[in-house]
Structure formats: C-alpha cells, structure tokens
Assembly symmetry: C2
C-alpha cells in the first residue's frame, strides 16, 4: 500500500511554486525523427542546484512545523540531495547539516559548503555514515530529511510531472530513472491522477537493477554491490518508494552503462545541454528500443546536470 | 557608410519567422551575482544546425528570386555557415554546394552532408578555395551566399536581437563576438533602432583582433595569421560588416584564449548548456571585467554549440 496521494503532490506543488524553477520543456527534431515519437524533455538539469532534488528538499523543509524547522535539518549525501537540502535550508534561513563521506570529491564538498551547509565528515561505510548521522541528530535536535524514503520528498518530486503536463498536455507515457525511487514514485502518482491510460516506465542501470528485480520477485530485493556510471542511481530502492512503484508503475526496464554513456553524449551533441549520466538513463532505453514508443507522446524527466567536466565518461583517462 | 537599415532586418525577421527557432533566453543567478548585473542569454546554440548562422542563411535563400533559387546556392565553409546553408536549402527544396577544405574534420563534413549538401573538396589554401568555388559557380549557375559579406545574411542575423528585446524588454548593453562581423553588424543595426542609449560591444579573441585593430586605426586592418581557440572567429572582418560596425558599434574589446576557455567551462558548469568557444567570447569579457556592467541590463548572444566532444579545450590530449 502506497501512503501518498495526488492531493499531497498538488499541495507540494503549490507550496514550492516560486521557490523552485519552473524548468523548461525542450523538444528535439533529431530525437523525434529517430524514435518516431513526440518526445517532451523536462529539463531538471536547469533546476536550482542542478537537479530535481531541490523540489523534494524544498517541500520537506517548508512542511516542517516552525519549532522543528528552528532546529535545522540533516541528511547524509555526497550528491545532489545534499546540495538541494543545503540550498533549501538557506532559503528558509535554517541550519543544515550534511554528513558526507571523506571520499566525496572536493568539488562536491565545496558545492555543498557554498550553499551554506555545515558539512560533517564520515567514513566511506554505511555504518560510519549512520553512526555519524545519529550523533549529529542527537547533538542538534535537527530533523532528518531522507533523500527518498520520505513522503514530503516524494510529493515534492511529483511536481515535475504536474508542470510537464500543464505545459505540453496529456501524455501517453512518462519515463524516469530509478535509484532510491523517490522521483519515480512522485511522478507516477501525479501522472496517473492526471492522464488517463498513461504508461509509467522506470529505467534502471543493469548494474544497479534492484527495482527491476524487486518488481519481478514481487518483494524488495537488495543488491550487494551495485555498480554503474550513473552514480546518482546507486542507492537502494526505499521501502516507501517500493510500495508506490509497485502500485503505480507499469514497467521497469534496464540499460547498460555503454548505452547510458552513448545516450548522454547524444543529448549533449544534439540538444546542446549538459546532463549527468543518471539523467541519460531513460534516453538510453529509448535509443536502444527497450520500449515501444511509435507515434506516442512521451515525457522524459532529465533529472540533473551535475558532472565533473574533467572526468567525462567518453574521454580516456 | 553602412548599406543596411532596420527595415531590412524587420523584413528578414518576418520572412524567417516559423522557419528558424525562436530560441529561449536563459537567466542565471550565479552570473547575475558575480557580475552584479541582469544578464539575458539569447541561446542560439539551441538554433537549428546549432548556431545563429541558420538565420542569415535562411533569409538569404528566401530572398532569392525563384529563377535564381532554382539553380541552387553555394558557399565555402568548413563550419557553421556551411551547415546552416545546407539545411536552409533543403528546407527551400533547392540544391546547395559547400566547398570545404580536405582538412575539415570528418564529423563536420558528415554533419553538412547529413543536411543534404553536395560537398566539393578543395585544398586548405585561400587560392584553392576560391578557384574551386569559382569553378562550381560557373558549372552550376548557383548563387554564392557569403557567410557575412552579404546584406541578406546580415539582416537575418539581426533578427536574434529583435527577438531578445521582444522577450526581455529594453537593454542597456548588448554583447556579441566578432569574426567576419555579420552577426555584430545585424544586431547593432537592430538594437540601435529599438533601444535608446544602448551600448553595443563586440568582443574578439586577442589572437584574431582585426576588428579591434581596424576600429583603432580607422581603416580595415588585416591580420596575417590569426590564431585562437574560438575557431569560428578566425575569418577576417568583411568590408560590409566593417562599415556597419564602424557606424553602429560603440566598442570592441579583446579577450585571451585562457579567458575564453574558462568562460566556456563556467557556462557549461553553471548553466548546464553546451556552447562552443566562439560563443564564450563575450562571457569572457564579462568575467574578466573588460566591460563595466554594474546594475545594467545586458544582452549576450550565445552564438552556437557545435563542438567536438572528444576534444574539449580543458582536457589534456
């Protein structure tokens, strides 16, 4: 049973309007010809902090009662959620603490610090991360904002699908990548409520396909050592997203890392926009014909654009 | 004396409406803060064929009388103008011949061929290029469409400035790069007619600064061997653009290649869009404080996004 409904997403959408960017929807002749469909790309790489995560983080923070907000927020993340929570906290003028492994790149640490976060280092293990987070929680009384296992976060992410349909009209299909599953959950709940007969597809890297395996097994499956170029999709599917996805998502397909890199490069080349590997994952599914889209109106969430320009996956080290 | 007036640009703008993309204008918090101005980026990297050149090429072709159009068009170009003319010709269903040096990259040749052009190879010298073009002209009876020394081309480029002001309102300043000078001429004539007291600034690579030197000398100066990472700006200033720029442009400033690469990378990183080195040239002038922009409303034409993703200037070979 999924615990989130469309009303929560509508409320989230109103709450964060004017705070998050209403990102543009781009169209591309090359992709429409090649895929024989009408593709609508929702560009969350242009979102504040460079990813859709700012939606969920903003909604979570703005949903806090004031006595809780006053004590600040905390999360553990070396990536987009950390940056998003830091900026959303600064906007609300409250403190944020981001627990971040010492192995995180200097540029990510700097970006998060630039958004005003207090960064607490931890070891590169789950145990260290959890104990460090627990200690910070106890010390500060802050509220934990989980990157995806949180109804307010999921509701915030769903606003991307609402905006997309408001701008381009009803869709036959929508595609999004799956990591922890927060985005896919939010947009699946939103789009199912708005469009009749829409097909919701999650796309996952083959090397981190726990959502695919979970849907197949009918129970949540964990993967020992996920590995993929789409580092934003390494996290395991959350319990709450699992329930939402089981109920509202029609299909999960997987793609190889080679296909992801090729899709990312093709988007850069043809659309002249910078997306990160995780954002290219649904496009990889389209390019490799994993999904039948002929003559369909297809929405694709391009989730983010945060990438180290010195380490592009097609450039030999 | 400049031979082009605002009426020609208005006519061009109406002629090519619906054929060229009305490209988006992007804004960026980081740049506004860093530069202490209101920067409006007109994104011609999203234009068809990936550069503003499609405007001028389309206007030139659509201005041809039908008995001339029937014989096709020709140009010599290894870059954006060749691709633009090829696609504009295909749209008009006429033949295009692009004379291209054998030293042009395979990817550029392929892109131009993909737009339907007949590609005629020439040697990598000006003499070979001119004799090959003359031979093709004689054989085909086609009309030569020069990349910038052509009133119809200049008028077409000017439409970018009209759209920008229509979208964001009056500007205090507008910046564009200078190579052959066609774009700068067109937008200077357009913006001077639309905005009172607007300052028009051309920006040029220091290693190809013939426009800068020409303005200083009061006569057209040629450079022996221009050299810059912004390869789209290698061509010498044309006679017609020289006259337009002398009359309508307030200032030409120069920037180093290091500043161009830094500006290009910063745009990719912060705005999540792909621009080519030539497009980064005006941004380099802003970042290095070559122009005083405090509290001003500044328009910047981001001219194109065609770049070999395997050869990024900040990646060591």
């Amino acid at each position: 049973m999924c615990d989130i409904n469309f009303d929560q997403i509508k409320t989230a959408s109103q709450r964060i309007a004017g705070i998050v960017h209403r990102t543009p929807v781009l169209h591309n002749h090359y992709f429409n010809e090649r895929l024989n469909c009408h593709a609508h790309f929702k560009c969350e790489n242009f979102q504040k902090t460079g990813s859709f995560k700012y939606r969920g983080a903003s909604n979570a923070i703005l949903s806090l009662e004031s006595h809780l907000a006053a004590k600040g927020v905390i999360t553990h993340s070396s990536g987009n959620h950390g940056q998003a929570l830091a900026l959303a906290a600064r906007h609300k003028q409250i403190r944020s603490t981001i627990v971040m492994p010492t192995t995180a790149s200097a540029s990510k640490r700097q970006a998060t610090a630039d958004y005003g976060a207090n960064i607490v280092p931890c070891g590169p293990t789950l145990a260290s991360r959890e104990s460090t987070t627990a200690k910070s929680l106890a010390e500060t009384g802050a509220t934990m904002v989980h990157p995806y296992n949180d109804p307010a976060v999921i509701a915030g992410q769903g606003s991307a699908a609402m905006e997309l349909v408001e701008e381009v009209g009803e869709l036959d299909m929508i595609l999004a990548p799956v990591g922890g599953g927060g985005l896919l959950s939010g947009i699946a709940i939103a789009i199912s409520a708005i469009c009749a007969d829409v097909k919701v597809v999650g796309v996952e890297p083959a090397g981190a396909d726990d959502a695919f395996q979970s849907m197949k097994a009918g129970t949540k499956v964990a993967i020992e050592q996920p590995q993929t170029v789409a580092d934003g999709l390494l996290p395991s599917l959350g319990n709450l997203p699992y329930r939402c996805i089981e109920r509202h998502v029609d299909q999960i397909v997987t793609v190889t890392d080679d296909a992801i890199v090729d899709a990312m490069r093709t988007i850069w080349q043809r659309m002249k926009i910078v997306i990160e590997p995780s954002a290219a994952v649904p496009v990889a599914a389209l390019i490799t014909n994993k999904i039948e889209v002929a003559n369909k109106r297809v929405g694709i969430i391009l989730t983010g654009g945060n990438i180290d320009l010195d380490k592009l996956p097609w450039v030999q080290a």
